[in-house]
Amino acid sequence: MPNALKPHPEPTPAQRKLLKALARLLPPACLLTDPEDLRPFECDGLSVYRRLPLAVVLPETVEQVQAIMRLAHRMRVPVVARGAGTGLSGGALPAADGILLSLAKFTRILRIDPPNALASVEPGVRNVAISEAAAAHGLYYAPDPSSQIACTIGGNVAENAGGAHCLKYGLTVHNVLGLKVVTGEGELVSIGAGTLDSPGYDLLALMAGSEGMLAVIVEVTVRLLPKPERAQVALAAFDDIAKAGEAVGALIAGGMVPAALEMMDTLAVQAAEDFVRAGYPKDAAAILLCEVDGGNAEVSHAIMAVREVLLRSGASRVRTAVDEAERQLFWKGRKSAFPAVGRIAPDYYCMDGTIPRRELPRVLREISALSARYGLPVANVFHAGDGNLHPLILFDANKPGELARCEALGREILALCVAAGGTITGEHGVGMEKIDSMCIQFQSGELRQFHAVKAAFDPAGLLNPGKAVPTLHRCAEFGAMHVHRGELPHPELDRF
């Protein structure tokens, strides 16, 4: 794991020239170069990767962003864009000797347009702030990653952020109708115009989840939805995690689209219960939280149907929240699961694989076997509705070798997800963290096509270089370590 906390060497003449040029473009408060000032930007939410950039810029206008990009392009300097830095895959890890471009000063809500159910905001606006601004009109912005009080919409688009309500309301890609971006060459481009579609290729889809590799987002237009009249949640306990998995399939097959459907296993339930006293049954092998929303009558009807299916699927107990306070409490337990697990181990490492739901019982069994083999406990928190697993590996970074063992276990879990027909990342992104696991999910042809897509937007390759898509050589090296079922991946490559 790169942990390049070396003291910064003296800048080279070219770097001095760059810093001088940046100082001409920006007010003094918008340019940081002192190592102490750079320190808060050395990592994102995945703090095991740290690196200091050459400079941090905090532009205040789109023109400044364009000027910075033009300068970086002319001097061939890498640029990494950053929102709130809450990402969990090292996507905002600075490039060595590069510019870290923070969008933190772009915090204006430009327009709330209730009749068209649209909001246009700057990229540094926090996810939850959009819903707060729209609330007066009975509207909200649906995607709600658990970091929504801190994470920003620009980062949400870059990562195609999800959350607990994706099954019914979609991911970021389903809720963005327009972007303004600055290209690697400093050109301002409008993609989409707030209309339901746009002429030409679907570049909005390409930008969503592009991890800052294609362009820098400077404005976002999102679709707003009417706030449901009512939501109700059922909490079901199971004595067998496989039964909980089958209950999920039965709910979906029964024609229901829950607003949220979450699963937690024993370890996660116990940690959460000890932390926030949400009223979870600590003896359960797994719990399911199933929320339905909509009109009053509809919700009353749906929650009874949910209850029935859960009991029929073998739930040992089903409770529905007696009031809004209890509903919030049930959710507080789930939303606190990560910090709760943080209390029972010195460190934890959060994985993000997605699998077809039917594979859940088998994948959980295999994760449990891997956990025993590596000697590291794993707590499972799961967006069950959309198949997105968040196994949390418990470890102690201060014990020699434990972090490496934890990462190796993590990679095995991701390989397991791919083998089950799933993916290495459902919503956290590839970033720096999962770049080697990309070699398991994709063959050389796909990776070459990804690199070509990047080059179509960023021919100089200066935007967030080295992230998200591994080079074929990197995969060849990784493949030498990871031979799956005796098949040599990327066999057409020269080995070295």
């Binding site: 099954l167 390409l206 399939g249 993916t423 179509a456 937007f457």
Partner: protein
């Protein structure tokens, strides 16, 4: 209809075209050939590459070969109480899944349950190097790599040949009701926009010949509740109306005047362009039958931030799709070149040079 996997034969045809330096014109059921610009390549038929590869209703995901007929696929879904949420127009019984997605068309439910592109989870395709590539997958959440699968939707086959597509499906609502009320276009726009900001199970809203049509769908209680809250007369056989609208079988579409598809923000007031109007998608997709020159229509629509597609040919050489800004056109050319450097797939179908 028998399932057959023609991917090897299709790839060989692509490789042959690459070697011979000829272009290919991709054909599915030939139900949407009237759309877009003409392209003169050698016909490459995907119609025999068909069959549902994987469908488990509990997963809400269906994977099928590109040549699978839409009608067959929808029947399979209906048997399990499910559907394609984007309510795709067929424009002919031979319509295929691949062609539907390549054209990226969505029906009346689009503003409420998402577009064709929103339903796509993954695909297998042949790119312009003749490589068979797989993007996305069969799961709802997947952020590994760029979203190439959704990029293919609406690309009219100009970036690659779709072989197999996984789509997300939805439970079919058990109940549905259409309410009609007489009103003018401005009032209809207010009404339709007002509905989409209320928590009602609306999944269709249209203005046609002095009437505003609103469809609500969902569980019985939800539909009953919505009926109590909304005014208007119940339209008997509402299903037939929405199908006729989706398939352009209403008399409105039968004329011979040039027909335009205009997409604007839904709350845009009625546009002052002479002709007959039909408003779908709650006001966001508007159909115009008009003899006004296309340049004048485009000018007017661009003033309100919308875009115009020439739907039915009028013999002119004007662009079918809204011209792109220079910056976007450059990105489009580079993308075309990176997927299909020899311009073998449907060259010029969308724009000259793509």
């Amino acid at each position: 209809m028998g399932a057959t996997d023609q991917s090897v034969a299709l790839r060989n045809q692509v490789l042959g075209a690459l070697e011979a330096g000829t272009a290919l014109k991709i054909c599915g059921g030939e139900s949407k050939h009237f759309l877009g610009r003409t392209t003169d390549g050698q016909a490459l038929s995907v119609a025999e590459h068909r069959g549902i590869v994987d469908y488990d209703p509990r997963e809400l995901v269906l994977t099928a070969r590109a040549g699978t007929r839409l009608a067959e696929l929808e029947e399979t879904l209906a048997q399990a109480g499910q559907m394609l949420a984007f309510e795709p127009p067929h424009f002919g019984e031979r319509a295929t899944l691949g062609g539907t997605l390549a054209c990226g068309l969505s029906g009346p439910r689009r503003p409420y349950r998402g577009a064709a592109r929103d339903a796509v989870l993954g695909c297998r395709l042949i790119n312009g190097h003749g490589e068979v590539l797989r993007f996305g997958g069969q799961v709802m959440k997947n952020v590994a790599g760029y979203d190439v699968s959704r990029l293919m939707v609406g690309a009219y086959g100009t970036l690659g040949l779709l072989l197999e597509i996984s789509v997300r499906v939805w439970p079919r609502p058990t109940h549905s009701l259409t309410l009609v009320r007489e009103c003018g276009p401005s009032e209809a726009i207010e009404r339709m926009c007002g509905l989409s900001v209320q928590p009602l199970p609306v999944d269709g809203a249209c203005f046609h010949e002095g009437h505003c049509y609103v469809r609500v769908s969902g569980a019985k209680t939800a539909v009953q509740d919505a009926h109590r809250r909304l005014d208007g007369e119940v339209l008997h056989d509402g299903g037939a109306f929405w199908e006729a609208l989706r398939e352009h079988r209403l008399p409105f579409f039968a004329g011979h005047e040039p027909l335009y598809r205009i997409v604007v923000k839904p709350h845009t007031p009625p546009l002052a362009i002479a002709g007959d109007w039909l408003l779908d998608w709650g006001g966001a997709q508007r159909w115009l039958a008009s003899t006004v020159p296309v340049a004048a229509i485009r000018h007017c629509v661009s003033q309100v931030g919308g875009h115009v597609t020439r739907w039915r040919a009028d013999g002119s050489e004007a662009d079918v799709f809204e011209p792109l800004t220079p910056a976007l056109a450059r990105i489009h050319r580079r993308l075309k070149d990176c997927f299909d450097p020899r311009h073998v797939f449907n060259p010029g179908r969308t724009y000259p040079g793509l």
